[in-house]
């Protein structure tokens, strides 16, 4: 083993060191000064950005006997994950403090989850992937339960844990079948094995593949493995929902791209059918059920399922164009989702969660600026131009039509019209109704600034989407 390997893997190693540092620093901090942990965590994330920037390479480097890969894709996803974990911490600080759950563990577990995500993004073997996935999943279970006196949080955590464990089991079982058939755990070797011996492309491998897809679909929250998602989104405290809704989606994308595109790309014909069913069901169930929700966290949960449908449809194409579209969609969706949950946190205050749709009534009278920001986010999620969500959908639809599925594209746009309704309802409540709650918004200047930047970004990226699209195509091309 070469010492150069450690430089390539520096991001994860440094992050692990920083986590230990945060853990120790937090020990010496009492509850009144917990904001120190927050500051150290943010500093750690800034440092991570620098390390990532320094360690990145334009080429693909495989190290640690083929179990770890560093390429432009992992570089971009990791940077985005670091940024969104940082944004999550920033939005959450005031909420946690005012609700007496400002514990160091939030930041600590958040960073450990980030480590898991980064391992997933750089995984080049099934076991590395599984390791990262479990690190992330266990962090998420713990985060959901962070307010342990809260019954709904505890229930959500339990549900998440039990279902998540089953999904992990499925994934592991699938991995063992794939290993058994191809004789390798590393994605490039699996791909080579399938290419060399087409006879492997038969029932035993498909059997394992089906279990892999169950695991992946669960992590995405795709129908019919979506049952945990609305409950967890609703049950978790809003900062935790924000955490789950943002960066882990990037890790899920990495999970898909690494396993199904890098490893089992040769089986595209087999898995694309399964993905198609899952994606279309997600699109329809997510959009239709979201209409019936009155809890905005739950509504955004179902809307996530619908967005996952779009991402999976892009991946379903199996083309470079489709993968690039999925990457662009996921990145921009995470921007909008972080903003939307940030808005819910902004409207909440001590002992009061603005988690119902009616809590947004009359926001235009209370704060015209943040009503405008929320409107940007909602129109972006609905896919209305000139917001970036439109270009994300456009890329996916374009990839689907290029692959020859015009009828599917029609179904996708029609589902978007259904989806538009519940996003419009938020705008309707904000703009067309009188405020029931006239409390002044409490949030620090830094939170307000970042939330505004986050929301303006969906407009700015919609007006100049070209560079990010080009970047996605370059990375996956």
């Amino acid at each position: 083993m070469d010492w150069m390997d450690y430089i390539v893997a520096a991001p994860e190693i440094v992050l692990l060191g920083l986590i230990c540092l945060v853990l120790i620093a937090d020990l010496y901090t009492d509850d009144d000064h917990r904001v120190r942990t927050f500051r150290i965590s943010i500093l750690a994330l800034v440092l991570m950005l620098l390390v990532l920037d320094g360690s990145g390479s334009a080429t693909r480097t495989v190290i640690f006997s083929g179990s770890y890969v560093s390429d432009p894709l992992s570089q971009l996803l990791k940077m985005a994950a670091v940024v969104f974990v940082g944004v999550t911490f920033l939005y959450s600080r005031d909420y946690l403090r005012s609700n007496d759950i400002h514990k160091g563990e939030f930041y600590l577990i958040g960073l450990i989850g980030l480590l898991g995500m980064m391992i997933m993004m750089s995984a080049n073997s099934m076991l590395t992937m599984y390791l990262g996935l479990e690190t992330l999943a266990l962090s998420l279970y713990a985060l959901v339960a962070i307010d342990r006196n809260n019954v709904t949080s505890a229930e959500a955590a339990m549900k998440y844990f039990v279902l998540g464990a089953i999904a992990s089991g499925c994934l592991l079982y699938g991995i063992s079948w794939v290993y058994g058939v191809t004789g390798s755990l590393q994605f490039h070797e699996i791909a080579a094995a399938v290419r060399m011996d087409p006879s492997l492309n038969s029932l035993p491998l498909w059997f394992g593949l089906a279990f892999l897809i169950v695991g992946i679909a669960f992590k995405f929250g795709a129908v019919p493995f979506h049952m945990w998602l609305p409950d967890v989104y609703q049950g978790a405290r809003t900062p935790v929902t924000l955490y789950i809704a943002s960066a882990p989606k990037l890790a899920a994308l990495a999970l898909f791209l690494r396993i199904l595109s890098d490893g089992l790309g040769g089986l595209h014909e087999t898995w694309s059918g399964m993905i198609l069913v899952i994606a279309v069901l997600s699109l329809l169930v997510g959009n239709f059920v979201a209409i019936a929700q009155s809890n905005i966290k739950r509504m955004l949960g179902y809307s996530t399922i619908a967005h996952v449908g779009f991402i999976l449809l892009a991946l379903f194409c199996g083309t470079e164009q489709g993968n690039a579209a999925a990457l662009f969609y996921t990145l921009t969706y995470v921007v909008a989702a972080a903003g939307a949950f940030g808005m819910i946190i902004l409207l909440s205050r001590r002992g009061y969660d603005a988690e119902n749709l009616v809590d947004f009534k009359g926001l235009n009278a209370r704060s015209p600026w943040f009503a405008l920001m929320m409107m940007f986010l909602m129109f972006s999620m609905a896919g209305v131009p000139p917001f970036v969500g439109f270009f994300a959908k456009l890329n996916v639809i374009s990839a689907v039509i290029d692959s020859g599925y015009t009828a599917l594209a029609v179904l996708m746009v029609l589902a978007s019209v259904v989806g538009a309704y519940y996003y419009l309802r938020v705008i309707w409540y904000m703009y067309f109704e009188e405020a029931e709650d006239k409390a002044v918004l409490q949030a620090g200047t830094d939170t307000r600034l970042v939330l505004s930047l986050n929301s303006v970004a969906v407009l700015a990226l919609g007006i100049v989407p070209g560079w990010l699209m080009a970047l996605c195509i370059q990375i996956l091309g």
Binding site: F379, N395, Y421, I427, P465, M469
Partner: protein
Amino acid sequence: MELSQHLLSILIWLPIVGGGALIAIGDEGDAASSRASLMRVVALLVSVTTFLFSVGLYVGFDNAMSGMQFIEKQPWVGSLNVFYSLGVDGISTPLILLTTFITPLVVVAGWNTITDRPAQYFAAFLILEGLMVGVFSALDALLFYVFWEAMLIPMFLIIGIWGGKRRVYATLKFFLYTFLGSVLMLVAFIYLYGQTGSFDLFGFMAAPLSMSAQKFIFIAFLLAFAVKVPMWPVHTWLPDAHVEAPTGGSVILAAIMLKMGGYGFVRLSLPIVPDGSEYFANMMIALSLIAVVYIGFVALMQKDMKKLIAYSSIAHMGFVTLGFFILWSVSGSAGAGLGMTGGMVQMISHGLISGAMFLCVGVLYDRVHSREIADYGGVANTMPVFAAFMVLFAMANAGLPGTSGFVGEFMVIIASFKANFWYAFLAATTLILGAAYTLWMVKRVVYGEVANENVAALKDLNAREFIVLAILAGSVLLLGIWPAPLVDMMNSTIDQLIQQVGQSKL
């Protein structure tokens, strides 16, 4: 000259930036505060400046040229080969002028009547203006689509925030209906992008397409444009939206947004899928005639003034689509040109007349807070000046010679005579029906004895209202007596379009 190279961009971005500035400064204090007055003045200044720039468009426009003028082209989204590409011809220039002409009038009309959040109100109209000019000048399909959809956002808010009692229902219906219509157009655009490799509209026009592809694309376009026009049977959002919208919203909706549908047919459907258009032309003629006759009868029975004008808009827009799609039934390009020109003139003229009619209803509504015909009667006794305007616009709406309403309808009827006697016969019923529903409404509202105390207490037009209505009355008469400048502007473009449509793409 530097300016003329960016004139269209100025017309688009000046109002949008102005509107953004209004939002950024925001509302504070009540409508009588100095902040609110400042907002109004800024809004008026921006819209008038935009209009003055658009005069430059009129002056610099070369009638002899059939192609695009004032062209701007910049790369926008490189990986999708999308360009920020603008240009105007004889079809889009009159519509842009109409847009920049109507918007200041709407700003003035909303001057004191909007007391709730005036900055947001004026900002919405300014942004809407920029986006509408964008729709009329975009030469790249994706840019067109972005403007087309983005336009829904300000109108959604205008109806929803400042509308009447059932505003939420009306505005959601408006948004979802038009959104549903438009998304399939997007699919068609992406399909064409796959065929040609770019979103350039001229590339779309040049691309050969099979008959079945043309049929599908035509249907996709039809859904988008028919909802916008609106054509029977997808017109049902319009009466709701019109009734609930504030006066300014109704004016913009009737005067300009409905024209988007007609514009879409001429700019996209006819040149991109000529054979598909020919295939469906008879269906389009039938739908247009149903709109003219059936909706005319529906208008007759309305009790609400705004609803009546809304239905009359649908009937009048039926003439526009009739004029466009009669192309293949008429022998000789002169007749085809007549139908097409008639449709275009009708769009401009209807923009002025329907806008004016909605403003008249707005004047009454501001005083009595009712749109019911039954709540009025004998308005002429207390508001003689207003009554004169209202009667003039009603006559124009009924297509009286000497007003702009006559010119377009007459051209279309002549063209349909050349096609088929029965088309012309049915189309001509509008002269009777239009006169019946409009003049009957005027009779019940304006003439007769003073009906009740509300009417007795009415005050005549103030200077602000007078100026707005007088400007509109002047333009309706001017176009009625001397339509030549408008027709001259469109002629060479329409000739070229007809030639283009005549060439099969199979």
